[in-house]
Amino acid sequence: MTSMNMGMAVNNALSLEMERDPNVFLLGEDIGYPGGVLGVTAGLQAKFGEKRVLDTPISESAIIGAAVGAAAAGLRPVAELMFVDFIGVCLDQLFNQAAKMRYMFGGKAKIPMVLRTCCGAGIGAAAQHSQSLEAWFMHIPGLKVVLPSTPYDAKGLLISAIRDDNPVVFLENKVLYQIPGEVPDDSYTVPIGEADIKREGNDVTVVATGQMVMRALAVAEKMAADGVSVEVLDPRSLCPLDEDAILESVKKTHRLVIVHEEVKFAGSGAEIAATVAEKAFDYLDAPILRVAAPFCPVPFSGKLEAEFVPSEEKITDAVKAVMEG
């Protein structure tokens, strides 16, 4: 076991998989020699060489598309999109090509690629470098979408994603890159599509993703002192979504609060809320509440950005509201 932050956990997962499987290679902007804009891929090119860790020109469509072609031809590429906000310039290769080739070709093609990218606000990177766009990717049949909240989950899920024969969008929250956690040194997998109860409780289920998991846990700890037992459930994967785990939790607690960093309107929480309302309506003692970002781009001002990202206070208010029924 080693204490490492999420950035190091991702680095470790990439290194282990590249050691294990010669077909795994990395491509992206500044990932090789410079080690990645946020340092996540540091040391990998020195270890594996330029043929396996490729620095590319700034051409996202070509990068993602090359990953699609290489995957279709039998390799297992891990492409990096520097910031999820850049998906706009290359989305076709992901959602019309990678996601659909297998289906359109009658089940014959296999696109075992991973698209790693960073998301989330909190470092003053402003509107075009801070978004959370999980819902976009969840909406495309053929893609898998993963959003780990801890270094342990990140390493295990990335290893699973690399071994998965489908295109996986692997979302790394950029604030979480710096947060340490205990991680086993050897290789292990965390299954895609399996949620994790980060804290057990009986009074209310808080489904939280990404950076929000830590905030939900902090709220749970504080509210325990007030006699409220909060269960924090981290889906870890958004597509496939572990519906069973969420429903089981809500059937136990009868109350649901969803917390995500995406904008509230049409975010991943809407899908979770609708699913629970549809399948566990009779178990609910209160309306389902979502705590999420407001419907605006991410502001540059630190003060406004702090207002944008759901706070512990807002999560607490929501938990109290559902407790009142």
């Binding site: 020109p57 469509s61 070509a62 297998r102 014959k108």
Partner: protein, 321 residues
């Protein structure tokens, strides 16, 4: 690498196969026997045939929305293609893909593509993979004058150049990008003028001269196989039919089209004349080949008609591996 007479006769047969297949498809769409958007390759047969004659099953190609010609040229089975267009479960894609997404991974055909410019980045990846695995396989990227303005095409050519990837970018300049003539959609006369901009060699060839296409492609493919990187090979041709079947073609004159169908321009008639003049074929042999190809197409239609549709239980198959 020059073509033997026998090989030329084989390629002539392939070109006829493409032509007859496409004309049959046109008939079937116009009579509402088959549906969907279909984009015909009539008039461009020499490009696909000449280029694919330099390839093996170990080589790849990415195609366009106008992909039937590429598929037939690389050895696609017209029965399975026809069944796919009939949306039958015996089709190449089990009826799930249709004309714009037809593919055969066993032949290295990484699919027709409904997105203009969708293929070039994928081609670079497949080529890079071939190199990564230590093989001398190449990937042909077929695209048109329309796609030459798409951002993805520029990105792919630049990346292929930087990686020295074994891609041959075959730009089929058929004079039209959808409904807009080339003269109106770009300021340059030849797409190849951009090759220098990417730092790669470019060549222009008469795309309706099968032998010339073959020889130019062989050189470009040979370069790629030796690790010397990509080439932009522009094949000047002409799109005889509309952009899609049913296109009223308000944007061009009939006599322009008819000019390209004359014996001195049509790729099949030109090769046919060469084969007869060099005594590789007789008029009688030509007749027999034409009849035989026509029979193949008729049998393909019969196969498609008699094939079952996919079952509704197959709707969700193949979304995930």
């Amino acid at each position: 690498m020059s073509l033997t007479k026998k090989k030329m006769v084989d390629l002539y047969t392939i070109m006829l196969r493409i032509r007859d297949f496409e004309e049959k498809i046109e008939e079937l769409v116009m009579t509402a026997t088959i549906g969907g958007f279909v984009h015909l390759y009539v008039g461009q047969e020499a490009v696909a045939t000449g280029v694919c004659a330099t390839l093996t099953d170990a080589d790849y190609l990415t195609s366009t929305h106008r992909g039937h010609g590429h598929m037939i040229a690389k050895g696609g089975d017209v029965k399975l293609m026809m069944a796919e267009l009939f949306a039958k479960s015996t089709g190449y894609c089990k009826g799930k893909g249709g004309s714009m997404h037809i593919a055969d991974l066993d032949l290295g055909i990484l699919g027709a593509n409904g997105i203009v410019g969708g293929g070039p980045p994928i081609a670079v990846g497949a080529a890079m993979a071939a190199q990564y695995k230590g093989t001398d396989s190449v990937c042909i990227c077929f695209s048109g004058d329309g796609a030459s303005n798409q951002g993805t095409t520029h990105e792919a050519m630049n990346l292929a150049a930087v990686w020295k990837a074994p891609v041959v970018f075959v730009a089929e300049n058929n004079h039209y990008g959808e409904f807009t003539s080339q003269a109106k959609h770009q300021c340059i006369e030849s797409i190849t003028e951009r090759a220098a901009g990417y730092g790669i060699p470019g060549a222009i060839v008469d795309g309706n001269d099968l032998v010339a296409v073959y020889e130019a492609a062989a050189e470009a493919v040979g370069r790629a196989r030796k690790g010397k990187g990509p080439t932009l090979l522009e094949c000047k041709t002409y799109r005889i039919k509309g952009h899609f079947v049913g296109d009223p073609e308000v944007y061009r004159e009939k006599n322009e089209v008819e000019g390209w169908q004359k014996a001195d321009k049509d790729p099949i008639l030109r090769l046919e004349k060469k084969l007869i003049d060099t005594k590789a074929l007789t008029k009688d042999k030509v007749k027999k080949i034409r009849e035989s190809v026509q029979k193949e197409i008729d049998e393909a239609v019969k196969f498609a008609e008699e094939s079952p549709e996919p079952d509704v239980s197959e709707l969700m198959d193949g979304v995930y591996a």
